[in-house]
Symmetry: C2
Subunit: 391 residues, 2 copies
């Protein structure tokens, strides 16, 4: 008998990946221009020119044995050092290279962190709506995900949070800017989350999953968790900020103020080893060492967001205004997310039904797409709205 | 309480990585030329020129959004297709792209496969000497590694194999050319292993871990497991054949003749997802699509091997002649591997003590180093031999 959990995971796929595959097929059938694929968070903005130049420079001018060789398991020193310096400059932390562990992207950052922290039976709290793979990752690490409700603006329901804390709670995941809602948790919210944990007296870790940290479209500051809570770990990826999702490069930063910092970092190293990561891709580690602070031209996402907000509001769709990331979490007019996503498909609009995000009655729209596609999709959205008598 | 298994794993590191880090430090202290580092399997031969050219061509002439974007979880179709075609051409198999799953290197190939196959309590058989991380990977997947003895030439002890098969046995790992001994299992040995499994009537999988498949220095053919056993899975990596160990690129090939092929492939997909792999690095997947069949200039390893065999024999060291990979498994003159490795260190020779390979009294020498370093190391080896009165 094979491992049935994994057989099942492989068969159902994630609903996002499922729709992504459907989209590829549908485009082949009716032409790419006629499918409005808002399913996956695959950045549509090219990586900055600096990245391209640096990659070519590295390949042309570095000894290939050094360039493509194993790095230390924790990552190339220059990359880790650059990450620490950039975090210190941006958030006034006092991290050093030995607080950083380079990873194969955001999911790897999370699986390594969860396997470092969890023992069988532990609970991990996430606020709805949350990225569905959190559940898979917690399950594999022997724990279970406990969902905490949100209010109508997708902000954490702090009463529910308080109620769900227990001696079994090993960690709390914060994901802001949030996938799939695009909302940001302000400083007050972070302070209240921390205060509730502190008052509980429980030895809980906060994991801040922040691949969208650089994608903010309002004049809002995102509070950096390490400045509010010592037992904290930041999971990052360059997938979105540098438009390199397929290259699998990111990092884990462990707060050096955590009283058990050394133990956490060892557990991260051990978990990475047990999961088979060995090291993060070396060429891209060396890229990261020199491209800190660079980002793709994110203004396209802001323009996409503004255009969609304008038209979707006009068409009568309901949603909380997203301030970051590149998602809008649309309310299903019928209250049934599956029905909404299926009906949108009839108009060739691909939206991810959001029940798997732990929040019934919504669909996720990823607007990391070309502005052209958005324009082409608008008549289809209008027809979809009409089909629900929204206009 | 953190996950203590992973805390411990992170603290002890693998003995190989430990020595690798020591070597880096020692080189900084006394100069790189004065340390003879035979510790790690980091290829010393540069990646072929074709790889360099293809990488630059891909970066210069491919739409960066496509080039660096997510691929399907199973991998880019062109890469999987190229792998299947190359295996078919080489081994007369009838695989297609959907038998292949692209991975982040050899360790990932193994962890994904083991997590696909194992349930808690399952046993996995490996023949000593074996790569120590097998134990870690099996443990994480909920199983345990059962070591089967070898004879004096590091060939499987088939009586012991037969004795250790049980209803708990889920899989057998074959690693030929072998790390750390460099020996190859001939066709007769593979046939006997298969025959013993068949006679047992147990539903056992064979996992062939073959990152050294292309590194053969004798006129020997390595039998391809799929041609001998249906329930078989091949784990591969381009780390050694293309000298890209840090880039983390490899694959899993599932034998389409396995009666439960579809279930195995689903379990592989599910395990990859649960471990957080998402997809293999996309730039290197696209490289693999066009560089099938290329290898680094492996003649250097053969020359290194020949030179070391000549001199080490002359100095009185004992070992089984390696036919492939880039390792020699040296017998500790005192019978104590730890003592031998420590004494070698005094002569600035870094050898991995081999007890963790499941075979007491040996050390591993990796000869994927520069021929220059070998020449420089010879007087040190001579002194080491003299210290044991071998000459």
């Amino acid at each position: 008998m094979l491992n049935q959990t994994n057989v099942k995971l492989g068969k159902v796929r994630s609903s996002i990946r499922e729709l992504f595959e459907y989209g590829k097929q549908r485009k082949a059938e009716i032409g790419a221009d006629n499918v409005f694929d808002f399913s996956i968070g695959n950045p549509s903005v090219p990586t900055p020119d600096d990245v391209k130049k640096t990659l070519i420079d590295l390949i042309e001018n570095t000894d290939p044995v050094e360039l493509h060789g194993y790095t230390s398991a924790q990552g190339d020193y220059s990359a880790r050092s650059a990450v620490a310096n950039q975090l210190n400059a941006k958030f006034s932390t006092e991290l050093n290279a030995d607080c950083i562990y380079m990873t194969c992207g955001a999911s790897a950052s999370l699986t390594v962190t969860l396997n470092a922290l969890l023992n069988a039976g532990d609970e991990v709290i996430a606020f709805v709506p949350y990225f569905p793979e959190y559940k898979v990752f917690c399950g594999h690490a022997g724990g279970s995900l406990i969902a905490v409700n949100c209010d109508g603006n997708f902000q954490p329901d702090l009463q529910d949070f308080k109620a769900k804390l227990s001696p079994k709670t090993k960690a709390v995941i914060i994901n802001s800017p949030n996938n799939p809602s695009g909302v940001i948790y302000g400083e007050q919210t972070i302070k209240e989350i921390v205060s509730i944990i502190n008052k509980s007296g429980l030895p809980i870790y906060i994991i801040s999953d922040e691949p969208y940290r650089e994608l903010i479209f309002e004049d809002t500051k995102i509070p950096f968790i390490m400045n509010y809570y010592d037992k904290s770990i930041v999971c990052y990826s360059y997938s979105k900020s540098l438009s390199l999702p397929g290259e699998r490069i990111g990092y884990i930063a462990v707060n050096n103020r955590a009283p058990d910092f050394g133990e956490i970092y060892s557990a991260v190293l051990g978990a990475g080893r047990a999961l088979g990561f060995v090291c993060a891709p070396s060429l891209f580690q060396k890229l990261i060492a020199t491209c800190q602070g660079a980002t793709s031209d994110l203004s396209v996402y802001r323009a996409n967001r503004d255009r969609l907000i304008e038209k979707l509001t006009k068409f009568g769709f309901a949603f909380a205004k997203p301030c970051g990331a590149f998602y809008i979490f649309l309310k299903a007019p019928s209250g049934n997310a599956k029905e909404f996503a299926e009906r949108a498909k009839q108009f060739e609009i691909l939206l991810v039904e959001g029940d798997s995000f732990g929040c019934n009655g919504y669909v996720r729209l990823s607007y990391c797409v070309s502005p052209d596609m958005i324009e082409r999709s608008l008549p289809a959205f209008k027809k979809l709205a009409i089909s629900y008598n929204l206009i």
